[in-house]
Symmetry: C2
Subunit: 286 residues, 2 copies
């Protein structure tokens, strides 16, 4: 991107970006393609090199992102948020916006403070391919004054953008969705197992559920991957991580979600809350 | 319908019908409109009068329906099946087909015997309005040789027609769907209640579920009726009856569905298995 293009789109403001991993990198690609001036903090030289070629401007220190009007964070965990973001938030100018894509605890974002700063929670659902296609599902929790800015920025790579409510509400919505997804997966897998005992094929039951009251997104996903065995193999690691995170957040918020957590943990999927270790594997992405 | 029309459609065979209640009466309307010769056994004079005007031919005794090529039964309960159908089945000619729309136990249909008769289970989901629009959802359990005939007849008022497998399988599929619907309703209502505690509105959560992994037909229905309170009021009587029936069928078939029954019974909906009394209220429909 040459200087003239940057100037031309200056009215869209400058975006600071941290967390250019598996999902974050294509976000930066889309922001650059959309004409935004992007300041990038990334530790890995190959990521800096790739995104520089698209017009992003690497900075040496995370705090330099505070020169931007909007900072987008796609960090992997609450721990990373508390490592990286406080310095940026305290240096942001009043009226600036921080959009955090991390699925974690609302309490973590509260700990960032940010008086006069718009802190927007924006957990997502979808793959790197979805980001590249501009089809990432993003949930937005933003106070009214910051919503248009946040929606405009994530609109570069997200559709649908689901407005969950005020600050912190998108993380709560994502938490509840994840619990329901796990619980409905368990129930549906139990139903398929019962069907096998009754001589009903998985294909027949899933075909019926697709047009019936007992149907769900989980049932559609099982049908799409082929059978319950493949589904269990593919979703168990993700759901185990999600449910462990839900348990932590519930404790953090001081709200009793034990009934939902029990429903999410009981069934053919071995995803009891409390598992760990999975997180470390993906940290390299950030 | 005049005599010439009946003759013209003679190749579609004669249909006997019993159970012309709230759902069954519009089925007869559609069968007559489709050009079928319909023999009707109905106790209520006003039903006989209405359907005679459309071309149906009332018979004095149920056993006279055995003159038909296909008998369609839309009785309310297994008890009614055992009262009414054995005499018809034993008088049917070999190769004839009985289509039973009752949601009940596969064991009840087995008790009918019917050597050389195609006994087809065809439980449905939908309203009288759906029947009149030709949009009833019907599940078919039929051995291969009887499937085309059964599908042709129910096609007069059903779309989609879901092939569940061989004889008895559609009742098993419906049973499992009903259990999953109740369990997913419970989970989703629990999620909405948790959301309220977390400051998330029902509208926001239901809007997110509509495009997310935790979504389900149950969530769509809750959104459609407006809120969880109205949903609980509208579905509780139906689900209580369904779950009681599921518990009976599980016992009848000697299969352990206790985990699914527990999931269907636990939650904001008060639908513990074992309720009764609701059945009597609707018997007048038949």
């Amino acid at each position: 991107m040459d200087e003239s293009v940057v100037t031309e789109h200056a009215d869209q403001g400058t975006v600071g970006f941290v967390g250019a991993g598996r999902i974050g990198e294509p976000m930066v690609e889309r922001l650059c393609a959309g004409g935004h001036r992007v300041l990038l903090f990334a530790r890995r030289p190959e990521v800096r090199a790739r995104l520089s070629q698209l017009g992003a401007q690497p900075v040496a220190e995370a705090v330099q992102l505070a020169a931007a009007d909007v900072v987008v964070s796609c960090l992997y965990s609450d721990r990373q948020i508390l490592d990286v973001l406080p310095g940026i938030v305290s240096a942001l100018r009043p009226g600036a916006v921080l959009v955090s894509h991390t699925t974690g605890s609302p309490a973590t974002l509260e700990r960032l403070g940010g008086q006069g700063i718009g802190i927007v929670d924006a957990p997502f659902s979808g793959s790197a391919e979805a980001v590249r296609a501009g089809r990432l599902t993003v949930y937005l929790g933003a106070d009214d004054e910051y919503l248009p800015t946040a929606r405009g920025i994530v609109g570069s790579y997200a559709d649908p953008v689901i407005i969950a409510g005020g600050r912190g509400s998108a993380l709560r919505v994502k938490l509840l969705n994840n619990l329901l997804f796990a619980a409905i997966s368990q129930i549906t897998l139990s139903g398929l197992a019962a069907g096998r005992k009754l001589g009903v094929t998985e294909k027949a039951l899933l075909g019926a559920l697709a047009v019936s009251s007992g149907g769900s997104a989980a049932a559609r996903y099982i049908d799409a991957v082929g059978d319950s065995g493949r589904y269990v193999a593919s979703v168990t690691p993700f759901l185990r991580k999600d449910i462990a995170a839900c348990a932590e957040v519930a404790a953090d918020l001081g709200v009793d979600l034990s009934a939902l957590l029990a429903a999410a943990s009981a069934g053919p999927l071995k995803i009891e809350a409390g598992g760990s270790g999975d997180r470390a594997a993906d940290l390299e992405d950030q």
